[in-house]
């Protein structure tokens, strides 16, 4: 066996060494581009998914989200709940949110959105919205008559730039009217406009908790949700279990729980696109390798016959062609890896601008190994078949160059 491998490698190496350089380089470049394509799309998809996950944690749910029990609309006695959660080991801070429907009006333009209230000092501990101010400043405790708008709510003066109904380009310092669903109407000065690039978050409106109590007309002990930020490095599931074990009867979900289902469907759709793209890439690689080896084996039919005539086993002859294919694949994947790394560096410096944010492709080694294995297996098969077809030919027919 070892002897066969030695001869196989010897023949393959000499063929590569003394065969056409231009053809070899072309084959390597084709495999490199196929490999790059196989890596790039999954890395963009992974990057987009990571961006979505980050946006969810940073602006929407924090690490753990507590929502009302199954048949309840609100979480009751929220102050007690906050006090309890803030004492749980692993919890950094909990922040309550209370949302009430409202219609915002500015110069005849109206937008109907839930108006969400929070304690600004708590909110800055659990989300990063305060770091994404496009203009103005974030809310502070004790602010009255001031409101915080998402970028899509504020909108732009040129309506064609807006994805959704907006206030048509309201700016910091402008006054808007808010008609709440309980019938109360108030004027607010826009204190800040934030832009997270998350569609959901940038279509939100925030008020300080105390301001919402003014609207309700009494002290508010209800919340529509509680966002919980955990200490760095802790296991979210462990903290979730602790919260439940502290007797919290509301629905407690980690951000992954919240996204499961919703994101899985999106990822599945992405994966279908990815698999189609990968299949096309593989088919290209297989066809290229098949054509290369067919041409090479047909061209060398006589030499294959000679090799068999002098006593070289058919398996060795086939093996030498497959070895050449694997060598082309190896160099192609190395070149493809280099190209993809250069692209990663480029995209890190200049991320892909998606409507939902800037996506930096995320390169995963597992994906790379899987794709490499897939490419090698497909290429080896694509090289084996034509080599086998020619090598099994009758020796004399091969030497005479007859098909």
């Amino acid at each position: 066996m070892l002897q066969k491998i030695r001869v196989m490698l010897f023949l393959a190496w000499r063929s590569i060494q003394r065969g056409g350089r231009a053809g070899l380089m072309l084959n390597i470049v084709i495999i490199a581009l196929v490999f790059t394509n196989m890596l790039l799309l999954p890395s963009i998809i992974t990057g987009a998914v990571e961006l979505f996950n980050e946006q969810t944690v940073d602006y929407q749910t924090s690490d753990i989200l507590i929502s009302p029990r199954e048949d309840d609309r609100y979480i009751a006695d929220v102050d007690t709940l906050l006090a309890k959660i803030n004492r749980i080991p692993g919890v950094h801070r909990a922040s309550a949110r209370f949302a009430m429907g409202g219609t915002l009006i500015y110069k005849g333009k109206t937008v109907s959105v839930p108006v969400t209230a929070f304690y600004p000092r708590d909110e800055v501990e659990v989300t990063l919205i305060n770091t994404k101010m496009k203009s103005g400043t974030f809310l502070s405790s004790g602010d009255t008559g001031e409101i915080l708008l998402g970028n899509f709510v504020a909108g732009s003066e040129d309506e064609s730039e807006d994805f959704f109904a907006s206030l048509g380009g309201v700016r910091v310092g402008d006054s808007i009217t808010v008609n709440f669903e309980n019938g109360v109407s108030r004027e607010y000065r826009v204190k800040g406009i934030f832009q997270t690039k998350s569609y959901t978050v940038d279509y939100m409106v925030f008020l300080p908790w105390e301001e919402m109590e003014e609207i309700i007309g009494h002290e508010n002990t209800l919340a529509t949700e509680v966002l919980v930020k955990t200490d760095e490095g802790v296991d979210l599931d462990v903290v979730k279990m602790r919260i439940l074990s502290f007797g919290v009867g509301e629905k407690v979900k980690t951000w992954k729980d919240v996204l499961s289902g919703l994101v899985e469907e999106s990822i599945e759709s992405f994966n279908i696109i990815n698999q189609i793209s990968m299949l096309v890439s593989l088919v290209i690689a297989v066809v290229v390798i098949f054509v290369i080896i067919t041409i090479k084996a047909v061209h060398q039919r006589r030499e294959i016959g000679i090799l068999k005539a002098i006593g070289i086993d058919q398996d060795i002859v086939i093996g030498s062609y497959v070895t050449q294919v694997l060598f082309i694949c190896l160099l192609g994947t190395i070149l493809g890896f280099i190209i993809s790394q250069v692209l990663m560096i480029y995209f890190n410096a200049y991320p892909l601008e998606f409507p939902d944010g800037n996506v930096v492709p995320v390169f995963e080694y597992v994906t790379m190994l899987e794709n490499t294995a897939l490419l090698f297996v497909a290429s080896a098969a694509a090289g084996y078949v034509p080599a086998w077809r020619i090598a099994r030919q009758n020796i004399l027919d091969a030497i005479r160059g007859q098909a």
């Binding site: 030695r6 001869v7 000679i306 002098i310 006593g311 009758n394 004399l396």
Partner: protein
């Protein structure tokens, strides 16, 4: 010793059966230098190919020493060709991507000899056929006569008991042809290898111990050259 018994080979050319060999029987002694002659299409190359296990007979058998070679599996036949038979083709039949030295040591490498052994041995054989200065040349850099000498060296590298040559001088000029024939004669004399050579050339006759002549797939003359006093 080669024993051929009732060997037949029928080719199908479309729907027409072509009888290349029609029951050929023959014995070649160890160390004999046998010439195989006959007109074009008489079956001499077919006979050589069947003795060299390059083809499959329609009927009959070929025994080399005591081995019925067509009862061996394909892999065993390969091993047998590698170790026991050297074949020299009319058109050199060298591997174009290998140098003269590599072409010669390839069968040795396949036979499992150590790297140093097969390189040294191949070099020595090439030296013996007068190519000591051309070891690292590719076939396209060699003349026809040199390529044929490389092919002979390759056939000899595993020290096979039998050397089969199918019109090895057909594409060579007279000087190169004579050199090649001298090499065969030297090999036969020095190593005692059995040689079976297909030849058209009348001037080759003195080299052979015996000549058989084929016509229409049958041996029509199995005379001994030595008896004619030509050698």
């Amino acid at each position: 010793m080669i024993t051929v018994e009732d060997l037949e080979r029928v080719y199908l050319m479309g729907k027409v059966e072509v009888h290349a060999l029609r029951g050929v029987s023959l014995s070649v002694k160890q160390g004999e230098f046998l010439g195989v002659t006959g007109e074009s299409g008489s079956g001499k190359s077919t006979l050589l190919h069947l003795v060299g296990i390059l083809d499959q007979p329609t009927a009959g058998r070929v025994l080399i020493d005591t081995t019925d070679v067509y009862r061996l599996s394909a892999e065993e036949q390969s091993r047998f060709r590698l170790g026991r038979i050297g074949f020299v083709f009319q058109e050199y039949a060298l591997i174009q991507e290998l140098t003269a030295l590599e072409n010669v040591y390839l069968p040795s490498l396949a036979a499992g000899n150590s790297h140093r052994d097969h390189e040294e041995h191949a070099g020595a054989i090439l030296e013996k056929v007068g190519l000591e200065g051309r070891l690292n040349h590719l076939p396209r850099e060699l003349s026809g006569g040199e390529q044929q000498r490389v092919a002979i060296a390759r056939a000899l590298v595993n020290n096979p008991g039998i050397l089969l040559a199918d019109e090895p001088c057909a594409n060579l000029d007279s000087e190169n042809s004579r050199n090649i024939m001298d090499i065969f004669a030297d090999i036969n004399r020095e190593t005692g290898q059995t040689i079976m050579m297909v030849s058209h050339e009348a001037w080759h006759r003195p080299y052979f111990h015996r000549i058989i002549r084929l016509r229409d797939g049958r041996i029509v003359d199995a005379g001994d050259v030595s008896d004619d006093g030509k050698r």
